[in-house]
Structure formats: C-alpha cells, structure tokens
C-alpha cells in the first residue's frame, strides 16, 4: 500500500472518531464537498482568537501587529504552495466569491478597457462545470450581451476538444474551465485549451477547487490567468477562499467589492485603489480562517502532496474495481486512472441515489448524492442525480472495502424488499 501512515493521519482528525447511526465507525467519503480538519487547523484558529485577535492592517497596537503577521504569514504559505508571487494571492470567502470577483470585475470594466466585455463577445465554459463556475458567467453574459458557449463532454466523461478552434474564436474574451470535475473525477488537459485561449487573446480562469487540495498545482507553469479554490476542501476552515491572478492583470482590473482597506486615497466624490492583493480585499477579512488555512497547508506539506495524490490514485483504483463488481452498477466518468482524481460517481439500476445514500448512512458511510451543483452535467448523462464517493488523505483501503460492501448490502436491501 502507499507510504502514508494512515493510522497516524486519522488520529489527527478528531471527527473521525465519531460513531454514526448507532455504533458505526464514521467512513467519510465526502471530501469533495468539504474536507475534515486536523487538530492543528482547529488549534491555529483558536490560538488566533485566544491570543492575537485584532483587525489586520489597522491600529498601532501589538495585537494588530501580531494578527497582521499571522495573516500575511498565511498568505505566504499559499503563495509558496501554488508557486505564486506574494501580491498575487487574494483572500476571499470562497471559490464561489473568487469566481464572482473576476466576473464582476470584468463586468465593471468600462468601454475601451482591455477587460471590457460587450455584445458580440464570447465567454466559453464547459458542460462539466460546477454551478459556481457557470452561473457567474451566465450572469456576466446576460449583463453584457455577450454569448455563452461551452465545451461538450464525451460519453466517457472527458472534455470534448474536437471543436476547440471554432469554440474559442477571435470573439472569445474569457475561457473558464474546471481543473478537475467534482462529479466525474476527470482531470482536464489544460495545455491545449490555455494555448488556444491565449492565441485569441482570451483570459483563462481555472476552477481549481478539486485539484489544488489533492495534487501539486503550480500556477506559473500551467499558463493560466486566474485560479480559484476554497480553503475548506483542503483541510482548512470554511469562510476562506483564494483568488490567484497574474499581477499585471489584477492591478489593471476594476475592483469588485469596495470599501475599507482597498483604497489609496478618498475624497467625498471619488477614490483611488490600492494594487493587488489589497485591491480585492475590502473590509476586515476572515483572519482566523486564513490563519487556519495556513496551518492546513503546513499539514499538507508535511504529509506531501505527491504522496497524497499517489495514495488517492490507489484508493480510486480499488474503488473503481470493487464497485464495478456490483450488479447493475455503472460508473459515471472515466473508468481508467489516466488524468483522473479521487472522485467516483456511480448509479445503480432501479435504486435512486438518495435512497442508496440513505442506506449507506445507516452503515456510517457518508457519501454525496444529488446533482452535485452540476445540473447540466446530470442532464448530459440523462439522469437527475448520482451517488459520489470522494477520497482524501485520511481514507484507507478499509474505507473503500466498506463502501463496496455497503453498496452491495444496500442493493440487496432494496432488491429484496
């Protein structure tokens, strides 16, 4: 098995000791929705509030100084984690807010600006987007009169790139794509798409919610313009997300949220704005959460992203093999391990995912059921919902065996009644 000491890792996550629906061990297979938090993250948040709490970047007192240092220290950890420059990492409240920040900033650009989007322009997304990387673009298209177009998804659950040169054309201003599908587990090949986007002068926005927590993403080497992800899916607290953007773009774009902390000078009539990151961090930020995210990154670094990824591939391999032995079960998404992350969606003939999820819950197994905030993708696969198991560093082969066994038991339960 992998080189991870799973017993030691599990011991760091107090919630994994919970007993569920009677006396079942908690088997948490819903990290794609949100991850659990290790003690070190919980401690970092508490320590911030208990010992250092003050509004960052304000006040001349010692606490403010300490808080600012911790907050900026957390930013530096994110910076290193994704290979960015210091002034390119913006704290938001979530990936959803990060993506909206880009969409609204572009929408706020005035005529003549290089960021201005107007009728006749095109915004390109894909059929496998989470609603968080679809609706903000639908709305931007609606507000500006631009056209929304999208990549299709193949039966196998891969991005259909066959019409890329027509889809991303000279009118295209933005291409927004997920790095890894939260439903299918598919990892999208970015090279061809970023190359084409930049050829036509479009901005490339990457939804990295499902990738950054699980394997090394170096924002400079993948040649994208913006990256969004959430802290809570990578062992961090809720309420903190990241927006990364190329410095020269961020400094030239209009702000999204405006108010305190993001201004340079203010008169009653108007204001000028600071450069990134502060330009996009109006108001007192979610400080303890950012500090918690810093601790989460320390934890991930300590274990090692490469080892985490290798471990998840192994779990996924076992899950795909095990689940496919079950009668009437079909995998929705790639069945091989090529360019694929630790997310497995499936359906069983005659059993609705909600019913299957309910039965699994009785065995202590937490999975996600439903449309996974990807309604158009569900339609693409002619269904309204799937059951999804998603893995992280604290899962082990026993968890996978329990899943396979649980699904088989649930299948029998509904078949026999």
């Amino acid at each position: 098995m992998s080189s991870l000491d799973i017993a030691a890792i599990k011991a760091d996550f107090p919630i994994l000791k919970r007993r569920i629906r009677g006396n079942n061990r908690l088997i948490y297979l819903d990290s794609g929705a949100t991850s659990q938090k290790p003690n070190s993250v919980l401690d970092a948040e508490r320590d911030f509030y208990q010992n250092h709490n003050a509004a960052v970047h304000r006040g001349a007192h010692q606490l403010a100084e300490e808080a600012t240092e911790l907050y900026e220290g957390a930013r530096e950890k994110v910076v290193k984690f994704i290979g960015a420059d210091s002034s390119e990492v913006i704290f938001t409240k979530s990936a959803t807010e990060s993506i909206n920040a880009i969409a609204y900033s572009l929408g706020n650009s005035t005529f003549g600006s290089r960021f201005h989007i107007k009728a006749g322009d095109r915004i390109v997304v894909s059929e496998m987007e989470h609603h968080a990387n679809l609706i903000p673009w639908q709305e931007l298209a609606r507000r500006t009169g631009a056209e929304l177009a999208w990549f299709k998804v193949t039966d196998e659950g891969r991005l259909d790139l066959s019409n890329i040169d027509d889809l991303i054309n000279s009118r295209t201003k933005v291409v927004a794509l997920t790095h890894q599908s939260n439903v299918l587990g598919t990892i999208n090949p970015l090279g061809e798409v970023t190359k084409r986007a930049h050829e036509v002068g479009a901005l490339f926005v990457l939804d990295a919610c499902q990738s950054v927590p699980h394997y090394k993403v170096d924002v400079k080497s993948i040649n994208v313009d913006f990256v969004a992800f959430s802290g809570h899916k990578m062992l961090g607290p809720t309420g903190v997300g990241i927006l990364w953007g190329k410095k020269e773009l961020l400094d030239a774009m209009p702000p999204f949220l405006t108010g305190g902390s993001m201004i340079e000078t203010v008169t009653m009539e108007s204001a000028t704005y600071l450069d990134a990151p502060k330009r996009f961090e109006a108001g007192v930020p979610n400080m303890a959460q950012a500090v918690g995210l810093g601790a989460a990154i320390d934890y991930l670094n300590k274990v090692g992203l490469d080892r985490i990824h290798a471990h998840e591939v192994e779990l996924t391999k076992k899950a795909l093999a095990g689940l496919q032995t079950i009668g009437g079960l079909s995998i929705i998404g790639p069945k091989d391990l090529e360019m694929r992350g630790g997310v497995v969606s499936f359906a069983i003939d005659g059993i609705h995912p909600h019913d299957l999820g309910q039965a699994l819950d009785q065995f202590g197994i937490a999975v996600r059921t439903g449309h996974h905030c990807a309604w158009p993708l569900m339609k693409r696969f002619k269904t309204v919902a799937t059951t999804r198991a998603s893995f992280y560093l604290y899962n082990d082969l026993e968890d996978i065996a329990a899943l396979v066994d649980g699904v088989e038991r649930a299948r029998k339960y509904f078949a026999e009644r």
């Binding site: 629906r21 609705h352 909600h354 019913d355 309910q358 059921t369 569900m378 309204v384 509904f414």
Partner: protein
C-alpha cells in the same frame, strides 16, 4: 434496522407500481416542481369537477420517497372536495414536520401514514412533500382561473 422504519413496504410498493403516473390531457392546472437540493422532479396535472378533485395525474423522476409519496397522495385526494383535500395536505405536512412525534391518523391519511418515519430524517422531508406541495400549488392555480 432503522432503515425499515423509513422504507415501509407500502412505500416501496408505490415506488415500484406508482398510481396515476401518466399525465391526463387538458388539465385545469399543470405545475412542475423540483427539489432543488437533489434535482427530483414532479409534473402534476389537476382536473376539477365543480368542487371535487376529479383527477390528479403526474410524471416524475426521483427517489422512492418522493415518487411513492406522490403516488399515495393522488390515490388519497382523488374524489375529495377541495376543502377536504387541502385539510389532508395540511395534516400530512404536519406529520412530516413533527420530527417523529406525530405518527399520523390512518383513518384520514390511509397509506400516507407510512411516511411518518420520514419525519425522523430531516433531509428527506422535502422529498416526501414534493408531490403534495405541487398539488397545493396546482389547486391554487386552478381556483384562480
């Protein structure tokens, strides 16, 4: 197993053999309701004859709870007066929101009492109410016409 209290025989029967599941044409009202958290859908056609619910037909996709509950509802409400039908919807809703305390009046709700167990599973209450809320909506629309 606790699951049995949720998945009563009656529920699975209605799920496998749903009643009135085929939309009758020319309704007095048609509504389409979805459970936004899971994507379950019900389209419901309502026919009235004066004060009486003459037909309730439907189409839908979803979990056993939402589909069976809609089936049970049609069987219960067809033939009732508007007023009685609404009272039954209220009674069913109250039972489902009781967190397991209200086991339901079988004389009134008939097969509907099988859903009493659902009230202990907060995430599933919406499933059980999907068709009933669609009916209530359809009735309001039909009356307005």
């Amino acid at each position: 197993m606790e699951l049995d209290s949720l998945y009563q025989e009656v529920i699975l029967d209605h799920y496998k053999r749903p009643l009135n599941k085929a939309l009758a044409p020319n309704p007095d009202a048609q509504v389409h309701h979805v459970n936004t958290s899971c994507g379950d859908e019900v389209t419901l056609n309502l026919h009235l004859e004066g004060d009486r619910i003459s037909r309730v037909t439907w189409e839908g996709v979803g979990c056993s709870i939402s589909q069976a509950s809609t089936s049970v509802m049609t069987d219960l409400l067809i033939g009732k007066s508007k007023e009685d039908a609404l009272a039954l919807v209220e009674e069913f809703q109250t039972m489902l929101q009781s967190k397991g305390k209200d086991t339901g009046n079988e004389e009134h709700l008939q097969d509907g009492v099988a859903f009493a167990g659902v009230s202990k599973f907060p995430a599933r209450v919406k499933c059980a109410l999907l068709g009933w809320m669609a009916f209530k909506d359809a009735l309001q629309q039909a009356v307005k016409k």
